[in-house]
């Protein structure tokens, strides 16, 4: 097991290097805004442009720039300096992480709490009106774009913009430590909006897995032993059906910790996702690279954790 974890960590580092290289290459090779021109301002002389390019190290060859960037990350965990905000990218990402964690964790709890029970109920009552209603609803939730759903939620239920002013609206987020009540109120709508598609997807997946698991021999054996149906479903069938869901859940939570760009933007939550969005709008290359790398880090980490948990959940798996 230890050897496996070490191997995966090394692969993770290699993957991060590849991601950083690709991000760097994309912005270097393809048309994107010139940070020097943005920094120099209107009517800047060619000399000023050259001087700023030199200051920012952008006059160096591509491989030199990349080497300096990677060295900074490896030796100092330095993700670079934002041209736009005159602040270290690392500082900005870390200061925004609590908001992103608040959003991702809450949405995760919502989609697990809604998606899995819905899938289980649909699986044990297949082709009933309840099943069709649940799966129909899931289809709608999967199809609804987050941006649209967010605006609908804001115009229906948010203070400041909604018909029913129940919950905090856009820009109402405050840190948990500042005002727990306001924190909760500001996150209710984003949690549900972000969780909607996930919950629907998880419900459909749980249903499919459960139906398959329920036809397994060990379920028939459990029933033959006289176990109550409730115990058969929850302790035997659901546990078996959850293994593949755990894989997806790990990836999803990793993805969201890297920033839920659309949800954070619609609800104006100052998290990593909105930072990524602002950085793209402002062509702030170091910040874009920082957020991409950060997101990749969480996905790789989540993958690793999930693979290790696999062995814990499923006794058949050994590394």
């Amino acid at each position: 097991m230890t050897a496996y974890v070490v191997r995966r960590v090394l692969w993770g580092v290699a993957l991060l290097l590849i991601v950083s290289f690709l991000t760097f290459a994309i912005f270097y090779l393809f048309p994107s805004a010139d940070p020097t021109a943005l920094r120099a301002g209107r009517s800047a002389t060619p000399q000023l442009i050259a001087q700023i390019r030199h200051q920012l190290g952008l006059d160096k060859p591509f491989y030199d720039q990349y080497w300096i960037y990677v060295k900074g990350i490896v030796l100092h965990f330095d993700l670079g300096f934002s041209y736009q905000n005159d602040e270290a990218v690392r500082t900005q990402i870390l200061s925004r992480l609590p908001a992103t964690i608040s959003l991702a964790a809450g949405a995760f709890a919502v989609w697990i709490a809604v998606g899995i029970p819905t899938g289980v109920i649909s699986a044990i009552r297949p082709r009933t009106p309840l099943d069709r209603l649940s799966m129909g609803g899931a289809l709608v939730a999967i199809s609804a774009p987050v941006y649209w759903l967010g605006l609908v939620a804001l115009f229906l239920f948010a203070k400041g913009t909604g018909k029913l002013q129940w919950f905090g609206g856009a820009g109402s987020y405050v840190p948990l430590t500042d005002d727990p009540g306001q924190w909760l109120s500001s996150l209710v709508l984003p949690w549900f909006v972000l969780a909607a598609a996930f919950a629907a997807f998880y419900a459909r997946m749980t249903r499919a897995n459960m139906i398959e698991t329920m036809s397994e021999d060990y379920i028939r054996t459990a029933r033959a032993k006289g176990l109550p149906e409730r115990r058969v479903i929850l302790r035997h069938a659901l546990r078996g059906a959850l293994t593949p869901i755990l894989t997806i859940a790990g990836l999803d939570i990793g993805l969201l910790l890297g920033g839920a760009v659309l949800t954070e933007t619609v609800f104006n939550i100052p998290g990593v996702g909105r930072f990524a969005y602002d950085s793209i709008i402002n062509s702030d290359l170091p910040s874009i690279q920082g957020t991409v790398l950060f997101g990749a880090f969480f996905i790789i980490l989540a993958n690793l954790v999930v693979d290790v948990l696999y062995a814990v959940l499923d006794p058949r798996i050994r590394y």
Binding site: A33, R42, I49, D86, G171, D278
Partner: protein, 578 residues
């Protein structure tokens, strides 16, 4: 203000409303003035720069003018500057080459500097703009006539002999030649004092971080720590202005009603932003305006329409044609485009008549008798077509003159680089379809707004045939600030070029060189009006919209009809009433 009108800005025609709406504008001496409270302004993005020596765009000026005192500044209901840190208008020598400005006494820096402002602080503020660590983007445009001004950015803060400080409250600017725009430039934030003994430690770095350690002279300051580090600036999230304890109201015409002002950033959806303000949860819009649909809704409701104010029609949006390569090096081909374009359809891409009048030349109506009237006002339109909807017959005549016998363009395909989001992308689509009617096949490269400028339209070597999403608003009300950077051949630069058509007409260049030095205002305005007409007739760029900008106020504050700065409200005049 400023190049490249921001995408997504909508506006309302003003003509019938009377310039600026009907909001109340209270001065500091108003008997009903109500001090206290918090004003909240919503914006989509952040300031372009936080350092007053670098600030340029309108949202930054909204904050800069509340916290800093340049020599001259604008009251909200005027497009002309009045003395702010200065006591009176500058005394200009007969030869137009020396400007003497007296400074107010009793103005002090905010903590941690705390000392009185002197003329040396103004001198340093301008000089640091030339340093590469600050790299102000406009000093080389407006201050390069100063005697001894560096031709390029310097590694440290340079001493400029043309800025003299004979005493603590007098500053003298010596120019190499008379300048018509210098006085206007003294209203820009680069003239706001900076204490050298405090700022040098930040300015000496590769990139100055004085911005995040700045001190204030205005009624407000960005909240900071006792050491001077800004704590009220969270990029992309919030800017918090609190009262400057060292501000002396008797030295200023700003009423500064509110106790604090919060700029909440990140409101990317203009409809949400509009609704939040209408609901009273915030007080005004900052860098983003209500979208056209919301504007139409608001103006249709008696209960809400009084919450809107509008700027004068300022600046022009235009379609730029690259004259540096075929086919637009041919005047008749350009004129064919001018006739073929449906300017009504172009205006509809930004909201229609609600957005402003169709532009027919470059000096806009907000200049009034400072060049607009002299240029023929709305009556001057060398490419007039019925209802501004295009005239294909005339377009074909022009193409025949250009050598296309059947009146249809048959040359190589053309390229335009445009915004990848509406309304800019819609404008580009209209251009492509309009030009297809005269045989021009236009390929559109869609990129982000910043990429469009910094990689294509602002870089002559990379410039496409057409840049459909460009425009210009003057930094201040001098026609030179509108026409010089955009059409003077001497201003074509390899990067960040604003002369998008790359117009380099010796006759126009010579007229501009002469107009720049005319000291008499009336003669100067007339000279630039003539230049405006000549440039328009070359058809190197086709103006299609004189745009107005709305500001929405909540019912909890007094309206401040801001006529300049794209309508970004002057928070020092806003009074919390709710």
């Amino acid at each position: 203000m400023r190049p490249a009108l921001a995408a997504g800005i909508a506006a309302l025609a003003l003509a019938a409303a009377g310039c600026g709406g009907s909001g109340s504008l209270k001065s500091g001496s108003s008997g009903s003035a109500q001090k206290g409270g918090t004003i909240t302004v919503l914006s989509a993005g952040d300031v372009d720069q936080i350092d007053p020596g670098q600030m340029y765009y309108s949202f930054s000026y909204e904050i800069g003018y509340a916290t800093q005192r340049p020599l001259f500044a604008y009251k909200p209901d005027s497009v002309d500057t009045v003395p702010d840190l200065a006591v009176a208008k500058p005394v200009v020598s007969k030869d137009g080459k020396t400007f003497t400005v007296k400074l107010r006494r009793g103005v002090r820096f905010s903590p941690p500097v705390n000392r009185p402002v002197t003329s040396a602080d103004v001198k340093y503020a301008i000089e640091r703009g030339f340093a590469s660590s600050v790299a102000n983007g406009y000093v080389t445009t407006y201050f390069d006539d100063l005697v001894g001004a560096p031709k390029q950015a310097t590694s440290g803060v340079p001493g400029i002999p043309g800025i003299q400080t004979p005493d603590k409250h007098t500053i003298v600017f010596k120019l190499k030649r008379p300048s018509g725009v210098f006085q206007g430039a003294l209203g820009m934030l680069i003239t706001a004092p900076v204490p050298p003994e405090y700022a040098r430690q930040f300015d000496s770095k590769t990139t100055s971080d004085y911005g995040t350690h700045q001190v204030a002279t205005g009624p407000y300051m960005i909240q900071n720590s006792s050491a001077g580090k800004l704590t009220g600036y969270q990029p992309g999230r919030r800017i918090l202005l609190v009262r400057n304890p060292n501000w002396n109201p008797s030295t200023s015409w700003r009423p500064a009603f509110a106790d604090q002002i919060v700029f909440r950033e990140g409101f990317q959806d203009p409809t949400v932003l509009t609704r939040v303000i209408l609901n009273g949860d915030a007080d005004a819009n900052g860098d983003t305006t209500p979208p056209p649909a919301e504007l139409r809704s608001i103006t249709g409701k008696p209960s809400e329409k009084d919450q809107l104010t509008f700027t004068l029609e300022g600046g022009a949006r235009y379609i730029s044609l690259n004259t540096a390569k075929p086919p637009f090096d041919n005047k008749f081909v350009r004129m064919a485009v001018a006739y073929a374009l449906d300017r009504n359809a172009l205006r509809l891409t930004r909201g229609g008549p609600i957005d402003g009048r169709i532009a027919t030349h470059f000096i806009d109506p907000s200049f009034s008798d400072k060049g607009f009237v002299q240029a023929g006002g709305s009556g001057f339109d060398p490419f007039a077509t019925p209802d501004h909807s295009g005239d294909l017959r005339k377009a074909r005549e022009m193409l025949q003159k250009a050598g296309f016998a059947n009146g249809k363009y048959s040359g190589p395909g053309l390229t335009q680089v445009a915004d990848n989001t509406p309304p800019g992308s819609d404008t580009a689509r209209v251009v492509a379809s309009n030009l297809a009617r005269i045989g021009m096949r236009v390929r559109t490269i869609s990129v982000t707004h910043a990429t469009m400028f910094t990689r294509f339209c602002n870089v002559p070597k990379q410039e496409p045939n057409i840049c459909p999403n460009v425009g210009w608003i003057a930094d201040f009300h001098e026609p030179q600030a509108l026409l010089d950077a955009t059409f003077n051949g001497k201003n074509i630069v390899p990067v960040n070029n604003s002369n998008w058509p790359q117009l380099n007409d010796p006759r126009i260049n010579a007229l501009m060189a002469r107009a720049e030095t005319i000291v008499d205002p009336q003669q100067r305005f007339a000279a630039w009006a003539r230049i405006d007409q000549l440039v328009t007739k070359t058809a190197v760029a086709i103006p299609w919209l004189w745009e107005t900008f709305p500001t929405l106020f909540s019912s909890n504050v007094t309206k401040v009809p801001e006529l300049w700065n794209l309508g970004a409200p002057d928070v020092t005049f806003m009074e919390a009433t709710g």
